[in-house]
């Protein structure tokens, strides 16, 4: 039996993975060179959460889906031009700093306050979705902190699957060590689910969904309030690129037999 759900997806924006990143020092702390002009995408694991949320909402008529995102308005608008074509959602933007260096606790506080004030949100039906880690800070704590601030005591991280059962309970598969999944059954919403990859492919662009979404996204962006994030006692001693350049030996003229022999010796017997 369908369960009307209120799904809130928290998703940041991150530099396109193909971009070269160079850390710099800015007046407000560390940042990335040309950060505002680097092409950006929706955080990949959070994007998985969005697609799973949309699939869940589609299966459960009467559900609502919000996408809450903190970032500079201009970058949010740029990313939403693509994301809006994927699945239907209501954007709740908040204008704030980009990047992985701001403190996660301050970010969580701002987002939790925003979610708590969402008009029409029924917290008894709330599923708080997001990526289990971002591709920027990669700490895996922001979503958990939001859930804690909102008083949600059922949290799951590294989620790859959620299956609803009769009566509103659901089964969750969470990634654990050794390539395994922990299987849990939760009595129902409210709950926090930090998604890993999930099982859904990225939806194809749908211009009709895009047009429908953009009718509400543009006004929402115009009305977005601004957030200033406290450092919360966090200080950066250094921020550097790793020394990753290797002296590569490129072997172009070895036969498969020769390569195999060399690799067999390299692998040895200890692996």
């Amino acid at each position: 039996m369908p369960q009307p759900l209120h799904v809130v997806v928290c998703a940041g924006i991150v530099p396109d993975p193909l971009q070269t990143l160079e850390p710099i020092t800015t007046p407000t702390g560390p940042g990335l060179k040309n950060e505002m002009v680097l092409p950006a995408v929706l955080d990949p694991w959070a994007a998985s959460a969005l697609y799973e949320a949309a699939a869940l909402a589609a299966k459960n008529p009467g559900s609502k889906l919000w996408l809450v995102s903190l970032g500079p308005k201009a970058k949010l608008q740029q990313v939403m031009m693509t994301v809006a074509q994927k699945v239907p959602f209501e954007l709740v933007p908040i204008d704030g700093p980009i990047g992985g260096f701001p403190d996660a606790h301050s970010t969580a506080k701002v987002l939790a306050e925003l979610i708590a004030a969402l008009p029409g949100l029924d917290r008894t039906k709330l599923l708080l979705f997001g990526g289990w880690e971002s591709a920027s800070r990669g700490a895996g704590v922001t979503l958990q902190l939001i859930g804690e601030i909102l008083g949600i005591t059922d949290q799951f991280q590294g989620v790859d699957q959620i299956t609803f059962r009769e009566g509103g309970s659901f089964e969750v598969l969470e990634r654990v060590e050794g390539g395994k999944h922990q299987v849990s059954v939760c009595l129902g919403a409210p709950a926090v689910l930090g998604w890993a990859t999930g099982n859904l492919a990225e939806p194809r662009n749908n211009p009709q969904v895009g047009m429908s979404n953009m009718r509400t996204i543009m006004p929402a962006l115009q009305k977005a309030s601004s957030a200033k994030l406290d450092a919360n006692g966090l200080r950066y001693v250094s921020v550097n690129l790793p020394k990753q350049q290797r002296t590569t030996r490129v072997e172009k003229n070895l036969t498969p037999d020769q390569i195999a022999a060399e690799l067999a010796e390299w692998i040895g017997t200890e692996s």
């Binding site: 991150v14 530099p15 991280q157 550097n240 030996r249």
Partner: protein, 345 residues
């Protein structure tokens, strides 16, 4: 003076501490020695006595929160247990393994006790102040951070410290049991089990020395104009069987399954290495049929010895990302290699 609490938990057996927990103990002892600080250890378990024997000589005081509720790795009960351990000891710095169990709860615990948390810590330095090293942007930018705020929770990545080995000459630690003073919240979640891949498909081996990464080229058309997915699967599984290597995959190869294309049946998103996948720790890595661009290579950050087989002499691996790149057909090379390895074994 700083005081340190190392939080630990037991493994699936329920009796032994996890390797990550014992690594955190080592990190705690090292930090305590640098700071001249007192260190205590906390255990979360259903029964902690057996686990505590692994901590002989590790710390003066060992505490435990133990009850049937803590047999299951679950947010509500684990967060309450860790909070109780902190409240009993009131340390300034808390170290814990970045395991799935503690990563699920520790930020919430830090929030409850008014502290702050940093995760995926790979090194801790202490001179005048405590500094933690961690990665940003999926292992592409390395930063050293410090915080004034206490308590400061630090989750340590696996493999960054040696596991603590109990001192056989020391008396086994007797854990002091901590009573949970705050009532547990209603436990609405029940862990019903662990789902592992089928025995014959278990290709992720975290403890293997060698990582074998299969790229999308394995399922592409070969010189005869046909795909040879079955042959690719046979070669890869043959290699894994003889070497005991762990299997990783590039995102593109894993995604093909979701898009209904020809795929290697044993690969899932759990095998994914890179920007949107895992960053495993193995001493050697062999990449095959993968072009070695940055989104893949960030998953290789902790693989010190890297080799690649690629048909493209200008692939990313050849541009300073691997130690050796063989320009060759992986089908032929792995076939020959399997024969050699089989003959050796």
């Amino acid at each position: 003076m700083e005081s340190i609490l190392v939080l630990t938990h037991v493994d699936e057996s329920g009796e032994a501490l996890t390797k990550g927990s014992l690594e955190a103990v080592t990190a705690g002892r090292e930090l305590a020695a640098k700071l001249g600080a007192e260190m205590a250890i906390g255990i979360v378990a259903q029964h902690a006595t057996q686990a505590a024997t692994q901590l002989a000589g590790a710390a003066k005081r060992v505490f435990a929160v133990q009850a049937d509720a803590f047999a299951q790795p679950r947010f509500a009960s684990d967060a309450a247990a860790c909070e109780a351990l902190w409240r009993a000891t009131q340390p300034a710095i808390v170290l814990a393994p970045h395991s799935s169990r503690f990563a699920r709860v520790m930020a919430a615990v830090a929030y409850r006790v008014g502290g702050a948390i940093d995760t995926h810590v790979t090194a801790i330095a202490a001179t005048a102040i405590v500094e933690a090293t961690r990665w940003f942007y999926r292992q592409r930018v390395e930063a050293v951070v410090t915080r004034d705020k206490r308590p400061w929770f630090l989750l340590l990545d696996a493999g960054t410290h040696p596991a603590f080995a109990a001192d056989p000459s020391s008396e086994a630690s007797q854990p002091e049991e901590i009573a949970i003073t705050a009532p547990l919240p209603e436990l609405r979640t029940e862990v019903t089990g662990i789902r592992a891949p089928r025995q014959d498909a278990q290709t992720i081996r975290p403890n293997a020395r060698l990582l074998f990464v299969a790229g999308a080229g394995w399922t592409k058309k070969q010189p005869d104009g046909q795909t040879h997915t079955d042959e690719a699967a046979s070669l890869i599984l043959g290699f894994l069987a003889t070497t005991g290597a762990s299997l990783g995959s590039s995102k593109s190869l894993v995604d093909q399954g979701g898009e209904g294309h020809s795929v290697l049946p044993f690969l899932t998103h759990l095998n994914q290495i890179g920007q949107t996948g895992a960053t495993p720790r193995h001493s050697k890595g062999l990449s095959t049929c993968c072009h070695g661009e940055e989104p893949h290579v960030v998953g290789w950050r902790f693989i010190p010895d890297r080799r690649a087989i690629s048909l493209d002499p200008n692939c990313g691996w050849a541009r300073g990302k691997a130690d050796v790149v063989y320009i060759a057909d992986a089908f032929q090379v792995i076939g020959k290699l399997n024969e050699l390895l089989a003959a050796k074994s």
